[in-house]
Symmetry: none
Subunit: 205 residues, 4 copies
């Protein structure tokens, strides 16, 4: 009997409540991990009732998906390769790495650990993550690499594998950091410069 008018104010309220819940979920997941966290934990952290969460998310996994979307959005908000076509490749690389490695600073350290862990093990999350984050990134990056290759800024390398190697290196370093490596924790800020040189010049004599 209720009209299905799309009330924009309603929409905003819903979005606000969703965010409130997601922020609470991020906080608690980061502290306790995905499995040990209960819906009650999240509800308490959000200052609402357990049941209310189910008005905005289908189930516990949907919260993870929501968090993933949030991360994705913030990535896309930040990421803008277009301005880099003009500047030189070394500067681009440094800036890109700086940006990618910065996510681990501040508070998102722990939630990253939890999200990646769950992605690895949950097929639904994994596919979502791949299609909404990994794949588009590769597709877009490929265009730039082709451009740079054409302009002989890069060697005529295999772009597809190169991209995967570089992004893999970033991911792997983040993981090593997450795993507790002290060296990386101490020297994290040196990485953008160091990696850029290594990627562009190699380590062999």
């Amino acid at each position: 009997m209720t009209e299905k008018t799309i009330d924009p104010i309603q929409k905003q309220l819903i979005a606000a409540r969703r965010n409130q819940i997601l922020e609470a979920a991020i906080k608690v997941f980061a502290e306790k991990g995905f499995h040990p966290t209960t819906i009650k934990d999240i509800a308490r952290a959000a200052g609402i009732a357990d049941g209310t969460i189910y008005n905005y998310f289908e189930n516990k996994t949907a919260l993870m998906i929501g968090i993933l979307d949030l991360m994705n959005e913030s990535d896309q908000r930040d990421e803008d390769f277009s301005k880099f076509t003009e500047i030189d490749f070394r500067t681009f690389m440094k800036t890109y790495l700086q940006h990618r490695l910065k996510v681990l600073k501040a508070d998102n350290f722990e939630i990253f650990r939890v999200v990646i862990s769950e992605i690895m093990v949950n097929k639904e999350l994994r596919e979502l993550h791949y299609h909404k984050i990994i794949e588009p990134t590769f597709v877009m990056a490929e265009k730039y690499f082709q451009l740079w290759a054409q302009e002989h800024i890069l060697k005529p390398v295999d772009i597809s594998l190169t991209m995967r190697a570089i992004s893999g290196m970033v991911l792997g370093l983040i993981l090593e950091h997450i795993m507790g490596d002290q060296t990386l924790e101490t020297r994290w800020d040196e990485l953008p410069d160091f990696l850029t040189d290594m990627i562009l010049d190699g380590i062999g004599n």
Copy 2:
């Protein structure tokens, strides 16, 4: 009054039973993941009673630790850097990468996913893994890198970060593969050669 001699036959029986259980655990964890797997699942897969598992492992997490040890052992059995000091660095790098990337072929694909996921999120496992696997590897590798640096086979790079970047790259590529990247699955065998060139020569012109 019978002496508590350590019966070698007993020892073998115990080791055999432990392996029987661990193999069952690997099989079921790989299929269903760590959390969704029940002790009953593992017992059934091993053809024994639930309780028997607890004669050999303190709890469910101890099974993960056992699997980690197994992987570690098989790594150490395979790994022998000593023969490499003589041959040239490019060959070494290819061989090393071949070896490291090979683990994902065969059946250990899925269990890898599960083990890494759990390591990320379980402090006990994480620390164990770091101290028994990561750290020793870095310590040993560092010696070789220093040697190569002295002989000017390498540029005078920062060894500590270089090692972490390379191993991170391997780890990251494995993860990207695990995450479902089709390109990596198809072209996995090209990686040793490709990565070696990239690491030694860089991609910049």
Copy 3:
């Protein structure tokens, strides 16, 4: 933003549900004993789900504590020594013993057995019982005994030990009854008179 006012109706509902569960627990504990009784037994007897019990009691032991509290409350409701100061001591003694020994009649026979048994063996229950029931009783009784001693109604006996001897006698007789003594079961109602004479006059010539 809604105030967390303590809704009196909520409070009553909670109290009602607690009592419902406790009554079921008393019933089943009395029939089967504490250890042999399962949470499922109690839930079934209360006509609710297993999990619901844990919304009102932290664990199985907390049910015992709840029962103890219930007994304590009913004791305190009944017990009123104040009216006795005026009347003669012999009458007081008879009335007191009548009251104390009455608890074993009606249905509380079996639950008493179970509760005392568990108190003896569970430190938490034991200390709770001592501080909430035994100790206050002794403190209050001591005042009356001192009064009677001052008025030379009593011999100048050691009040502290006297109280313990009398209450011990009551407890011991209850236990002997519980243990299955037929004589006590048959002649239970004679005890108040009999014990009063014995305590006041002694049995020696």
Copy 4:
């Protein structure tokens, strides 16, 4: 095929092993209580294998029965009323109470707690205890009380209830001690004299 000759040496060995097990059981039960103690605990304490216990005792409850028998035996070894007929009643009472209250000193404090607790709740133990310990004691004691009554050492009281009141008082005081009463713990040794006077002379003026 084995001969059923009653080998007296065999018999002694069996008795020795039984006692070894019972002593271990007493030790561990006293420490941890009946239910929390496992057969493995007892086996370890006795320095034998789990299964061996089942060659001497049918099940865990049979161990309790064995302990009860042991206590009973030691009681009967100590108890000899015959020498008391000659001496005066007051001395008899003191000696009897001294003996009965002494059991709580030394180590049998904790095991007493556990045994009584289990007797209260286990029908088999309860009936055994009543018929093998309580009843015979009452029967024997009744004879002496009748003698003393005939000789006008006692008032013409109801012997049956008197006995139960006195033994109940002893039991009750033991329980109050067990429950943690500090006064009784401190002044335990005063009880025989105090109780004797109270029982013989009463507390009323």
